[in-house]
């Protein structure tokens, strides 16, 4: 692939850049990085087998750069792909390091090209499939299937979904049981927040957070843990709203809270 080594990002044609720009507008419309790469590869106007992966990597990185410039937030998998393509690019441009393990840049590029070709192949196949004559649209089954009414025999039937859902219903009933039970050992942040709101009015002075644990929640370990977590989350929320102040002497020391004197 030495002939592509000289490739520079400037070499990207104007139309390709315009295309990349247009792509950004509807990045939502893409089904992930591979789909985007496939679309970008079409701007090369060559057979997918002859595609320049290096050029494609440039295009993609250019795309991501542009998106960043326009402050468009790309999903993580787009960024992962960008990082990988940057890595691939360096492998393709630099002479191979004999001490390095793993597949060569060419191997990686070949696989990417294969993936793109395969995806395109599947899309074409899907289009051909959907273009076929279809039952109930282009050709038809018997309109009056039950012609003769002679013997009436009742049979019972069920399909696979019924079966699996039936099983799931039973099994998740089991799974659900401890959840329903444990509900009364769980305190939500909302509950804690409601309670704390009423109490902080009295917290003019630094008070230990643990003293806010509701009655009946201090001894049982499960309940205590849940209430502590809920209370802690609630105090953070209250602090964020500027209702209280927090302090902690050192790591693992008790957390203390105090009402914020709002004289404003």
């Amino acid at each position: 692939m030495s002939e592509t080594e000289e490739f520079e990002s400037d070499a990207m044609s104007v139309s390709a850049r315009l295309a990349a720009e247009a792509l950004i507008v509807d990045v939502e419309g893409f089904e992930g990085p591979l789909d985007l790469l496939l679309t970008l590869s079409r701007t090369q106007k060559v057979d997918l087998r002859k595609i320049s992966v290096l050029e494609l990597a440039e295009q993609y990185l250019g795309f991501v750069e542009k998106a960043r410039h326009l402050r468009i937030e790309l999903a993580a998998d787009y960024l992962v792909m960008a990082a990988w393509l940057a890595f691939l690019k360096s492998r393709l441009l630099l002479p191979p390091d004999p001490t390095e393990d793993g597949p060569s840049g060419e191997e990686l590029a070949a696989h990417l090209a294969f993936q793109l070709e395969r995806l395109q192949g599947m899309r074409d196949a899907a289009a051909k499939l959907m273009a076929r004559d279809q039952l109930g649209r282009d050709f038809f089954a018997r309109g009056i299937p039950e012609d003769v009414t002679r013997v009436r025999r009742v049979t019972y039937t069920a399909n696979l979904l019924d079966l699996m859902q039936g099983y799931a219903r039973i099994r998740t009933k089991d799974e659900f049981r401890p959840f329903i039970m444990d509900r009364d050992a769980v305190m939500t942040m909302e509950q804690a927040l409601d309670r704390m709101r009423g109490l902080i009015g009295y917290a003019g002075d630094w008070t230990d957070l643990t003293s806010y644990l509701p009655e009946g929640w201090e001894t049982d370990p499960v309940r205590r843990r849940s209430a502590t977590a809920a209370n802690f989350a609630a105090t953070l929320e209250l602090a964020k709203r500027g209702a209280i102040e927090l302090r902690q002497g050192e790591i693992f020391a008790p957390i203390q809270i105090r009402r914020k004197s709002n004289d404003g």
Binding site: F140, R142, I144, V148, T155, L160, M164, I170, E175, I180
Partner: protein
Amino acid sequence: MTDDVTRDDVAAEDHAGKGNDSLFEAPPMGEQERMVEAILFASAEPVTVKELEARMPHGSDAAEALVYLRKRYEGRGVSVVKVGDAWAIRTAPDLGYLMQKETVETRKLSRAAIETLAIIAYHQPVTRAEIEEIRGVSVSRGTIDQLIEMEWIRFGRRRMTPGRPVTFVVTSEFLDHFGLESARDLPGLKELRSAGLLESRPPPGAMPGPETEDEDESPEGQSELFED
């Protein structure tokens, strides 16, 4: 219902629309016959000559096509018959006895039966007591009988435990019906969930489950309470 209409009867019906010979030539009669054949076959109701012509290219003569079609089906396994003033394709009366299967009435299996069947499929070989334990309710005799009669389950080996209870397993008819190659191909709970076949639930990690350090829990005893 008369079957023996003549060419004249049929022809009388169609003269109404025939006056205005059109710009477009009607397709050849052989083609028209094919069209009538297809329409009669696919329609859920008998079709009148008027309706046929409304669906065929302008200038078609459905009545004439019907004459040819009827002739073609004479003595065949099905025939073109007149129902009131409409036409339909029906099985030849002498072959009615072959149609018994077509008149089977199918009903959905009851929930109890489906659940019992599902447990047998997933846990086979399984005893009746085990089914009851999993379902949390007793299994009526009728349910098991019904499934055996449908040939979806059968008796397996006796369990080598006290009382030597019989077990149940699913049959090859069951696999056939549900399009499975073996009962082991049934998806597990996790797979059901990831395929979107289960309603979403909080992931197990999100709920405080029984933990080893919390020695004062007795999950078994408690879950017993919730058995319904």
